[in-house]
């Protein structure tokens, strides 16, 4: 426990967020840095990372003003760049380890950065807005630190960083996984959605419905759907909730952490937080731990683990947002929607495997918590029967964790138009050999490159792409892209003929993709 246990992994990863508009003068460079992990790194090292990054950004901007540096591949490290907001940069430095485990795909790493930032935006608004609010930067730092650290805690499993490596090349971050439902169930779901909408009257509410960890319906635009979906899977779905049943005690968390199969949620929390409150708090004003006394800023930590639970009325409750003054009720969480640029109350209701999230505009409710609980009451009156019905329908059609397994295939299907993906279940992917995975990893890297090129060539024109390689272990590794849809596939124990592989894709496409990849 403590520093020692974290140190090895911290060498593997550096993550920093900085603002190019700050610290323009000699000697004030430190002011640029809004976040740095590991925080206990000497300032000189931190500055050298940001300095190098800034230099490269400035240099590459000469040639490509709109999209500056994306990645630096050094001998021992990869630097992945992402500019989420104008002049605000996130840089992730990962070590290229000699052990084969540390093989990274930069696009996947960039998705991690995107995810952190999008989630941050959803709860706290943009970084720039926070900076504008308090030009000193203390407010921003005090928000970013606990948030990113809470996020990273999910990625730490034991001593190891679980960044997306080649093992995860049949996964796509920043996409939504959907439940496939029959027409009848779909209609039931949609009538439920409309019931929720109409129960809110004239105010424009949104809703998101999940079954298990899969999305069933969303009335939000894609970007907001992804964010809320990600948060729900991390913290709200029954699986996310049950991982935290062990204890509410802060101290006992460290070693009672339970790991959930499937690899999405890891609850190993203690070490990082402690390391944090030890070293960071002195350096940056604002404590990450809301319970400890001297915070200048009241910082909400939405990604804190094990703080959600199911209330008696079926609504999920949390104390993350604190309690209302003079009231025993817990404050309702709020999120900020990118699409409408409005702050919304987040109410989550859970019945068995069904999680219904609905969002009410904050400005439509005049009397605060009281108004929200009235809305919840209305929700229960109007929708609870329908929810029962929908849950029953969906449970009946639910094929279990391996519902989307297709025997003989290990696949990833991405519909980038709608930001939806579907993949072979994690348990099945682990049966693949390392050779196959590495081959697929290479292939994806290659595809990413092509896609990147294409993006700058013709912005609106989707290009079709097909790649098919035979790996060392005689597995076929296939990528096919058409009309914005991507299919990646590994066929082990396959026939040696290319025709066989192509037939296999065709068959898969016809049966599971409505023939989208069957364009001969």
């Amino acid at each position: 426990m403590g520093l020692a246990s974290v140190n090895p992994s911290s060498e593997g990863l550096q993550l920093c967020i900085f603002d190019l508009r700050r610290g323009q003068h000699e000697g004030q460079e430190l002011d640029k840095i809004l976040f740095f992990y590991p925080a206990d790194l000497p300032f000189s090292t931190q500055l050298s990372v940001t300095g190098l990054s800034e230099g490269l950004i400035t240099f590459t901007r000469i040639f490509s003003p709109e999209a500056a540096c994306e990645v630096i591949e050094a001998e021992r490290h990869s630097h992945v760049f992402y500019e989420p907001e104008p002049d605000i940069w996130m840089v992730m430095v990962v070590e290229k380890s000699k052990e084969a485990e540390a093989i990274w795909r930069t696009d996947a790493l960039r998705e991690v950065l995107k995810e952190v930032h999008s989630l941050f935006m959803m709860f706290h608004g943009s970084i720039r807005a926070l900076l504008d609010k308090e030009p000193g930067g203390g407010l921003t730092r005090s928000h970013l630190y606990p948030f990113v650290m809470d996020y990273l805690r999910d990625i730490f499993s034991g001593k190891k960083l679980q960044l997306p490596s080649f093992h995860d090349c049949l996964n796509e971050r920043r996409t939504v996984q959907m439940l496939t439902v029959g027409r009848e169930a779909a209609i039931e779901v949609q009538t439920l959605v409309r019931t929720l909408e109409s129960s809110a009257g004239n105010t424009h509410c949104f809703s998101l419905i999940l079954f298990q960890d899969l999305l069933v319906s969303s009335t939000l635009p894609p970007e907001d759907t992804i964010n809320l979906f990600t948060y729900a899977v991390l913290r709200l779905t029954p699986r996310a909730l049950s991982s935290g049943v062990s204890s509410w005690s802060y101290l006992r968390k460290g070693y009672s952490s339970s790991q959930v199969a499937g690899g999405s949620t890891f609850a190993h929390s203690g070490s990082v937080a402690e390391q944090f409150s030890g070293s960071v708090a002195e350096q940056f004003s604002g404590s990450c731990d809301t319970s400890s006394g001297d915070d200048r800023y009241r910082v909400v930590r939405p990604l804190q683990n094990d703080r959600w639970s199911k209330g008696k009325d079926g609504f999920l409750i949390t104390d993350i947002w604190g309690t209302e003054v003079g009231d025993l009720d817990l404050a309702t969480p709020t999120v900020w929607l990118k699409h409408t640029e409005a702050r919304m109350y987040l109410c989550a209701y859970q019945y068995k495997s069904l999680t219904v999230i609905f969002l009410i505009p904050v400005n439509s409710i005049l009397n605060g918590e009281q108004g929200v609980s009235m809305e919840k009451q209305k929700f229960l009156e109007n929708a609870s029967l329908k929810i029962l019905k929908v849950e029953e329908k969906l449970s009946k059609g639910w094929g279990g964790e391996n519902a989307y397994h297709v025997s003989g295939y290990r696949y990833l299907l991405v519909d980038s138009n709608r930001a939806i993906s579907r993949a072979s279940p994690a348990g099945k992917v682990t049966t693949l050999t390392k050779e196959s995975l590495l081959a697929l990893h290479m292939l994806r890297d290659e595809v990413d490159l092509e896609k990147g090129k294409n993006k700058w060539d013709h912005k609106a024109h989707d290009k079709d792409l097909e790649m098919c390689i035979r790996a060392k272990n005689n597995a076929w590794v296939i990528a096919r892209i058409t009309g914005g849809k991507e299919l990646y596939m590994v066929l082990e124990k396959a026939n040696e003929k290319l025709l066989y592989a192509s037939d296999a894709v065709e068959k898969f496409s016809d049966r599971y993709c409505n023939g989208a990849f069957s364009l001969d």
Binding site: V181, R183, E184, A186, I187, E188, Q190, T191, R194, T195, E197, S198, S217, S218, T219, L220, P221, P222, T225, N382, N417, R418, A460, H461, D464, T482, G483, G484, N514, G515, A516, L519, D520
Partner: protein, 740 residues
Amino acid sequence: MSGKASISQSSTGFGSGALSHVYIKHPPLRCSIPGSMGLFYDDGTKLLISTTSTQVFSWKTVPFSPLAAPTTDSISEGPILAVRFSLDEKLIAVQRSNSEIQFWLRETGETFCQKCKSESESILGFFWTDCPLCDIVVVKTSGLDFYSYDPASKSLTLVETRKLNVSWYVYTHESRLLLLASGMQCKTFNGFQLSSGGVIRLPKFEMLMAKSEANSKPVLADEDLYIVTVYGRIYCLQVDRVAMLLHCYRFYRDAVVQQGSLPIYSSKVAISVVDNVLLVHQVDAKVVILYDIFADSRAPISAPLPVLLRGLPRSNSSTSRSNGRESENSETSNANYHETIIYGDDWNFLVPDLVCDVANKLLWKIHLDLEAISASSSEVPSVLEFLQRRKLEANKAKQLCLAITRTVILERRPVNMVGRAMDVIVTSYSLSIKTGSYFKGTKAERRPTGVPNVNNPEAGTDVSVSQTDGRGKSIKFESNSRHNSGLINRSSTYSASDSEDTGSSEPLKTNLDDTPETQPSSLQPQTLGPVNNLVNHDVLEQQETQLATPAISPDEMYKFVFAPVDEEMVGEPSYLVAIILEFLRSANVEKVKVHPNIYVLTIQLLARSERYAELGLFIINKILEPSKEVAFQLLESGRQNPQTRKLGLDMLRQHPLHNDYVLLLVQDGYYLEALRYVRKHKVTGVRPSLFLEAAFSSNDPQHLAAVLRFFSDFIPGFRNTTDFCAYYRVLSEMNGTVNA
């Protein structure tokens, strides 16, 4: 015009003073004959009969027409206690005394007599029957005599006798049910049904009679007993004067089951049945209460209100709703109608829906004012259920349903409630499809051009059925009764209540030949109220008056509800989407096919509010089923949203509509993909020039060469076309410039 207007108009039209749910309409059938000595109604032949000392005048009452002329028959002079025509109307039977019935052959004027054998028994009455056992039944104090008529010998033969003590009896031809009262209080009953299938003897049963005091025992009289036929089921209603209740019994083959009681508010009551609605006239109170005893509920449909006399010319304005058309029909000699007293002492209620004013010799037909009934209740789903069960004025009921549905949507009533209304409409339509009654109506209907007729195949078969039979009515009636029992089983809300129907006891049904109310011809154009004026007139003309059922097809839902509502509705269209979803849910449950125009509308609505993500879900989950129309609407709505456009393209590909798909690919610049598609699916009829043009504009000689090469292989003789030559030249020029 909006449905909203219709409801408000109808309620204001009636005002407070002139509100009514039931009306009789001027002019009545006048049956006054000089020297008339008696007025009879023969329910077997549905003839109104007036007798003078030597003549029998008879008016047909079905179809009801005020202008009906009487038929005259001469008979010999003598007392007349009762007159009944044989069912084929070839004989007239006249009861001369309590021991003698005299018969006339109408063609020849021949006559013969039938007398009681013993002095001790007397004839209570008689009726003709179509049961295979006999032709005429004579009810005597000592029992029943069944006679068959032999046309050859022109005499009656006694077929069978049943010995029973009879105080009095009740019989209606409509139900074929004969109830014989006996006992001190006349409350013990023997029942027979003389159906075309044979004579069914019902178990003996007793009626309920409340006692006023310990010693007094009220005696049940025949005027207190009514046999009622609704929805093909037979009920008996018994007035209990002491308890002021109307007991309701339902007849099954092997049982008589009491099914609740209705309160009465008058010492004198009368019962009518109009279009399967039970009318309990509270004669003293001069009001009528309506019940729809289809369901288990014995609650009245609406508040007690008086019967209205409609259509009086130059009448006091408060009671009349005359309009031009009706006054044209009326004649000038109606001074005495002004004195028509509603619920006067001289009113005789005839089975099932006629009123005879004996003093003035007038015959009125009772009508339901569906509009007023539907306006009186705010419980929309049940109003719709009620209207959907109406057969007599199916067109009017249908228009009312459409108007009501439009109104509730425009008023943005709660989605749950409108959803239930949709359930009612769809269930009713689905049943009408299953029983075929929907097509009976629509076959006469001229469909508007341009709208595909979904129903064609079935309509074809239906025509053949109805043409072959002179007994077409019977088939229709049978289907109606099946319809009813079907409804019981299906409608979940009432299933428990009427479970006997499916249980061991077989319900007594009325005979097949008897189709009292399903005559479409009784639907006179004048009866259509102002509601119809609110609906587009061309609609009315198309549908004429031939509807057999008020069921509303999904296509009509679109044309007369969703489309007009969409035009009229202001603000967020998401409410209408919610309603359409409810409709789709019902349709899916009932397995009713939905026309793509509803899907198209849904796409338009979602696109209008820019809810493309949801639209995508609707398409992916096939809530909006794929079709050519849907695909094109997606392409259209996709102008603002590429994802939606792609969905449309995918749908074209899957549908598959090769030519459209290929064309769109080329338009979007994917001409090479289009060519691959053409090759794979062997799409014929593509125009090479389109592809060549596209390849040319891309300014890539390789692509152009590829396209040329493709068509050279794909289309035989392509090398000889002008297209080839032109682009071959272009290609060589391009190559030339590239090389240079």
